[in-house]
């Protein structure tokens, strides 16, 4: 076989999400938490999803696993194609086969995501028991292996520890071990370092990078921290009020942002190489998802908004190789 570099293209995407909509039906009305989100992830790739709190990042991740909070939450429409299979169409028991074995997820808070009454060994063993029906020595070998992948020192002994005996950083490594134990093809990391302090955060991110290199797992990295996304991801999708407003490679997004929201975000990141008097900020608040303004959701806060922005939803505009932005200004640069 000739060594051909793999170009990410439409037909070898690991995950392809099309027009995903997750709504919450509440007494006060319909909250459109995820409203027409489309993106794709190639094998071994890391896609970053950035956005502020409440922009729908977590709901998008949970929707991929069909674990939207009940009651109230519902995936209304769209497709989640994982290796060509639409996960929104399979039965619940088939979906359970995917969870943990094909697609896994790392939650935000390592203090809360481990069960206090079981040893960490038991908890890393759980997905292996569920999906590979292992027991005895083969099981514990795999558990130790998973902990070793996450660089947990003396994993054999650590197996017998309870979560409360471990530090936050170690616990989050255990959570990573649970996620990787069955060697899934995709891991969704939902702000995995938010609860950790800065040095441990840097360690954990380097660890996830190593893990990806060793296992070639694809990752969706959800974060509100542009700096982390720049370090971790190949491509970035920027979310605002339930929609993806811009998608590009990391390099392209930072050097050539197109959407006014992205431009604002990039400007607001402090940089070591440039001296600024005062960091730029984006005025105003994101809209309440209950009664959204007509037209572009960012229009009320946008410095470049014009009449059309306030009435008509912006189109999906190609701004370069693999670079898309949903903005009227990108379509008509003159205005």
């Amino acid at each position: 076989m000739p060594a051909v570099s793999r170009q990410p293209s439409a037909n070898d995407d690991l995950l392809k999400v099309e027009d995903l909509r997750t709504y919450f039906f509440t007494r006060r009305g319909v909250v459109k938490a995820v409203d027409g989100v489309s993106f794709s992830v190639a094998p071994g790739e890391t896609l970053g999803i950035v956005g502020e709190s409440g922009s729908g990042k977590t709901m998008t991740s949970l929707s991929l696993l069909r674990l939207v909070p009940q009651p109230g939450g519902k995936i209304v429409s769209g497709k989640v194609l994982f290796e060509g299979v639409d996960l929104l169409q399979v039965s619940e028991s088939e979906m359970r086969e995917y969870r943990g074995s094909q697609i896994s997820m790392i939650l935000q808070d390592p203090m809360a995501s481990l069960n206090p009454v079981y040893t960490v060994g038991e908890q890393v063993a759980e997905p292996l028991r569920q999906h590979q029906h292992l027991a005895g020595k083969p099981l514990w070998d795999k558990v130790t292996e998973a902990l070793r992948l996450l660089r947990i020192p003396s994993p054999r002994e650590r197996l017998q520890n309870y979560p409360h005996q471990m530090s936050g950083g170690m616990r989050q490594r255990v959570v990573g071990g649970i996620a990787i134990s069955c060697r899934p093809k995709l891991i969704i990391a939902d702000e995995p370092t938010t609860a950790l302090d800065a040095t441990i955060q840097a360690q954990y991110l380097a660890l996830l990078k190593d893990l990806q290199r060793e296992t070639n797992v694809a990752m969706i990295f959800v974060s509100h921290d542009f700096g982390i996304v720049a370090k971790m991801c190949d491509r970035v999708a920027v979310m605002y009020a339930g929609k993806i407003v811009e998608t590009a490679t990391v390099r392209e997004l930072f050097s050539n942002p197109q959407h006014p929201y992205t431009i604002g975000l990039v400007k607001s990141v402090p940089r070591l190489d440039r001296k600024v008097e005062r960091l730029a900020s984006i005025e105003g608040q994101p809209p309440a998802l209950l009664n959204l303004p007509p037209g572009c959701r960012f229009a009320p806060r946008c410095y470049a908004a014009f009449d059309r922005c306030r009435v008509e939803e912006p189109p999906h505009v190609r701004a370069g190789e693999g670079h898309y932005a949903d903005c009227w200004n990108v379509l008509y640069p003159a205005s």
Partner: protein, 299 residues
């Protein structure tokens, strides 16, 4: 260099599986004393015919209302006799059979039913929860004694009737308590984590949620020992429980009620037995709770 040598020792110490530690936990007073009391009572109840000095049903009017040996009575009746001259100690030993087995059976039945329904309602929520909780409300509101009568009339008074009468309604407090605990846990991240790795709802309820509600379950179970013995005595007193002359602790307490001024021992000693069982149950429950909670185990 020193650090690399020190590390493995620390790990061994921290894991706490040394053979010396294993037995320490059984040598604590809050385990030994209540366990000794319960074992003594259970052994006495099991070998009642061999252990008790008299036949508990044998009346002897010449020996009636004898005070206990240490309060001026005879050594023949250590804890005195009742108004029909029956030996109080013998009746307590035989009464332990009924009272302990009724308590144990009722706790087993009610805790199992109540916990299952509580977990189901709390975890599944929605219609199932609403339905189960309304049934629970009705059970909590229905008077115990009335149902006991009803069953006694239809089935005839017996130990089985007592167990049934208490169990049919007794599961409700468990269901209510456990459902509340499960509601709290349902939204915990570790339950979401269990769903993320592909566990089925049944597995989540049994292996991920249940171990986290053992504490309140144990506490309610041990506390209910006293309540069950009291209800059993109330039913017996009204003629709907274990029929006389069979000795039960509850019926002995109520027998002696009218004579409490002159012959206090008739009520006092079975009452003391009830108190000891209840206290031992509570202490053992506490001890077990500390054992089961990994956060307290290492201390």
């Amino acid at each position: 260099m020193d650090i690399t040598i020190a590390r493995p020792e620390l790990v061994v110490e921290g894991s706490g599986t040394g053979s010396g530690r294993r037995w320490d936990i059984f040598l604590q007073l809050n385990f030994c004393i209540p366990m000794a009391v319960l074992v003594l009572l259970i052994v006495a109840a099991a070998f009642a015919t061999q252990v008790s000095p008299y036949d508990p049903l044998q009346t002897s009017l010449s020996q009636r209302l004898q005070p206990p040996a240490f309060a001026g009575g005879t050594a023949g009746h250590v804890l005195g006799t009742d108004k029909l001259g029956r030996d109080v100690l013998s009746r307590i030993i035989f009464g332990a059979r009924v009272s302990l087995s009724v308590s144990l059976l009722v706790i087993l039945i009610t805790a199992t039913i109540g916990t299952s329904l509580g977990i189901l309602g709390g975890y599944l929520g929605g219609f199932v929860d609403a339905l189960l909780m309304r049934i629970t409300d009705i059970s909590l509101a229905f008077p115990f004694i009335l149902l006991g009568f009803l069953l006694a009339v239809t089935l005839g008074p017996s130990v089985t009737t007592v167990v049934l009468a208490i169990s049919v309604l007794g599961w409700a407090p468990y269901a209510r308590l456990i459902r509340g605990e499960v509601l709290k846990l349902r939204n915990a991240d570790f339950v979401l984590q269990a769903r993320i790795i592909g566990c089925s709802p049944l597995r989540i309820m049994l292996t991920h949620i249940f171990p986290n509600i053992v504490n309140p379950l144990l506490i309610l179970s041990t506390l209910s020992v006293g309540l069950i013995i009291l209800v059993e005595s109330a039913l017996s007193y009204l003629g709907a429980g274990v029929p006389p002359p069979t000795a039960t602790w509850g019926s002995m307490v109520s027998d002696g009620r009218g004579l409490i001024d002159t012959a206090w021992w008739i009520s006092f000693f079975p009452g003391l037995a009830i108190g000891m069982v209840v206290l031992s149950g509570n202490f053992l429950g506490d001890w077990l709770r500390d054992r089961l909670d990994p956060r307290l185990r290492q201390i």
